[in-house]
Symmetry: C2
Subunit: 127 residues, 2 copies
DNA sequence: ACTTCACTTGCATTCTGAGACAATTGTGCT
DNA sequence: AGCACAATTGTCTCAGAATGCAAGTGAAGT
């Protein structure tokens, strides 16, 4: 019996807040920046230097990411060091993947609609 | 050497579109609905019956999820059956988790800020 | 104490996105 | 062809989010 009996309930694993936080290009850029190899924590100024928006905006984005449990903040003198909560994040992503897998046994990647262009809802079958 | 040499670049693995698609409660509800054990594909009407919004809105949400490669659509007579692209989704989540883990070796879950209340950006060190 | 630097927050503006309703398209049936 | 049903799309409105600028807060140096 290599088949798990029931599927893992998804509702508890899908925090809208997290995805909403990751749904902005600038916030994604921040996350990528902080995830760079051996990058370690960075300050708001350092992160803002890489982005095309005002520092205050970056500060707000960091607040959103922090509320969503994506980042961690720690004061260090005059600066605030932001870092990725990698452990938590990885755990969430893994358990989410497990849950989806457990609920949808037919896990066949790239079966339909794998051509180049994206498909609109209406273009299910084009004439 | 159980340590990978370099970290996996995150930029390519973080599609803003996907997270934006998952950043809406109704879309999450749709995903959960479609992920229910042995649920199989469902039509727009069936999905709309579970949601407090108009059918047209559900159709649009399905379009967003489809564009984000979360769902798959297939016409079946008068109906359109929507199903979860579980394989792709699981693969994306897993490779994302791997990438984050590879970039941030200090994966210590729930280290700081793990109390009940959320923390604002300004409340790094409270007096 | 005063100044400076780093960051946060208040406020106004702009823009995106969700939602409802109506109209249209697509499919099957008689 | 004509009708009925399913789904998509057009259009409008409204709420929430992103942004910039200015003002406020906190910490360190002089």
């Amino acid at each position: 019996m290599s088949e798990p009996a029931a599927c893992i309930p998804l509702e508890k694993l899908l925090p809208t807040e997290l995805f909403k936080a990751l749904g902005d290009p600038n916030r994604i850029a921040i996350l990528c920046d902080l995830c760079e190899c051996r990058g370690g924590p960075k300050t708001v100024s350092e992160l803002a230097a890489e982005l095309p928006v005002d520092l205050s905006v970056v500060s707000r984005h960091l607040g959103v990411l922090k509320r969503a449990r994506v980042l961690d903040a720690e004061r260090n003198g005059k600066n605030v060091q932001y870092s990725v909560r990698a452990g938590d994040l990885v755990a969430i992503l893994r358990s989410l993947a497990d849950a989806i897998e457990s609920c949808c046994p037919a896990s066949k990647p790239t079966e339909t609609e794998t051509r180049t262009g994206p498909a609109e809802p209406g273009s299910v079958s084009q004439p």
